[in-house]
Amino acid sequence: MESMNIEALEKKAREIRATCVQMACDGKVGHLSSSLSYVDVLVALYYGWLKVFPEDPGNPGRDRFILSKGHGCSSLYVVLADLGFFPKSMLAEYNREDSCLPNHPCMHTLPVMEMSSGSLGHGLGVATGMLYGLRLRGSGSRTVVLLGDGECNEGSVWESAAFAAAHKLERLLAVVDYNGIQAVGHSDEIMGHTSLEEKFRSFGWAARTIDGSDMKSVVAALDRVPFKKDKPSAIIAKTRTGVSFMENDVLWHYRKPSEEDRVKALAELNAKPIYGRTI
């Protein structure tokens, strides 16, 4: 794919966000802020950095992307549909009964997903196995895992972090969506105001913290991956939802946007959803 400039990536991100808001409204489901916060990272990854093949999704030469925080799946669905992995019209089925797009992704109903997710603390471990295997096969493919900051409460994340560094999985990139919010509170308070970057570094990773909602910073950080030879890389991306009335509010982890919310958000984003409404 031809790489897009920053402005085009920013526009794309607004479009993805607008689509997520409409999907949450139509699908009558929450977890909207969890999908919105990492959109800039997702766009920078999928529209330039990751090697993917929408027409041949299982191509062994692809980079692998695992959404470990499965509850934030709607933005990934939008990006995959936008890139042509499946028809955009399917987005209207988000969270409906019998839909291929449930609110936690299932690889059986949507086989383009590398893994099903929904329970936290699994993606990084699976990624280490995939990458270990890819390296044994002499593949140069990279593996990216998107984790939540709340997810990093899980001990299993750190078992995997230790393993990845011990085995020098240089082609592994973990991005932590550091949106500051988890299910019932603020992640900094719950983790005692300790630094995620320092944690990853002390586990043997090369890590840096960036403004994850600033496209320029995201692209610049991705361009420097791997940060250090023989070390897995971690990006702690401080993120925002990108919709002013949803910022920094635990409520939007749960709230289903009303039609009024939808209209207000779309106006602010100045973007149109990528699928037409059927209702």
């Binding site: 690889m107 590398e114 893994m115 099903s116 929904g118 329970s119 603390g121 699994h122 990084l124 471990g125 699976v126 990624a127 280490t128 196995g129 995939m130 990458l131 270990y132 295997g133 890819l134 044994l136 096969r137 001990g155 299993s156 078992e159 995997s160 230790a162 393993f163 011990a166």
Partner: protein, 307 residues
Amino acid sequence: MRRAFAKALCAAAEKDPDVMFLTGDMGFQVFDEFIAKFSRRYVNVGIAEAQLVSMASGLAKEGFRPVIYSIASFMTARPFEQIRVCVAYPDLPVLIVGAGGGYAYSSSGVTHHAGDDLALMSLLPGMTVVAPCDPAELALLLPQLMTLDGPAYMRIGMFGEPEVPAAEPPVLGKARLLAQGEKVAVLTTGDLAAAAREAVEELHKEGIFPLLYHFHTVKPLDTAALESISVKARAMIVLEESSPVGGLAAAIANWLAAGGCKIGFNRSGPPDLFLCGNPSRATLAKRFGYDKRGIMDSCRRAWQQAD
């Protein structure tokens, strides 16, 4: 049984270049041959069972056939959710091996008891669950497990289990006939088959001839064998070194309750309790009636009632 496992694993790795062996820091000296021959395909993940399982899932996703190994209690109960979410849900061909299942580590304390390993693994849709009776059977079952498209759990014992003679080789998913007989059927799983076999042979001297079937495959349950047992016998005695909840006996009881085959049902095995007090394995078997003597007593009672 562990040496037989290590040997069978080497044979499997010889045959299939995608076989990998991952351990959760267990098996000192047991896998030296594998490490020497296939160093690239051996990983000691460390004392990190969650990582052990999720990493195996990633390897299986990339087309490898991981075999993962730890003590049965740590291999099943601790990373249960990893097994459920990363292995069973995506239906990946990971072979999970629990060493010292049941009460093989009886005197190591409750933390090491794995009376629930078969039950936990049987709970997972698509999981094949096996408990071989001796090293020879393990060696014949392992290559069959390595052909499955989905996940499997194998409970293996300790060292030096006696060989249990059988006319037919084991076939995954099929109960194995160990002794012909009538009226009463003894059904075993895991290494209890040896004690059951001895008990049945001694009973022959008393003119009591129970059938003896070994269910090395706990799941899927061989219901065809159960149907045929129901025709041949009036009572069955299920022996298991497992919790009464969710193990072989529970699976059979469920099947009987739903299916209507008429046959008397008895179970001998440990109770639904944490077994404190440093008991030996032999003490437990004696206390709960599944040692040789206990099995003989159960058979005599069932034989008399069947007359």
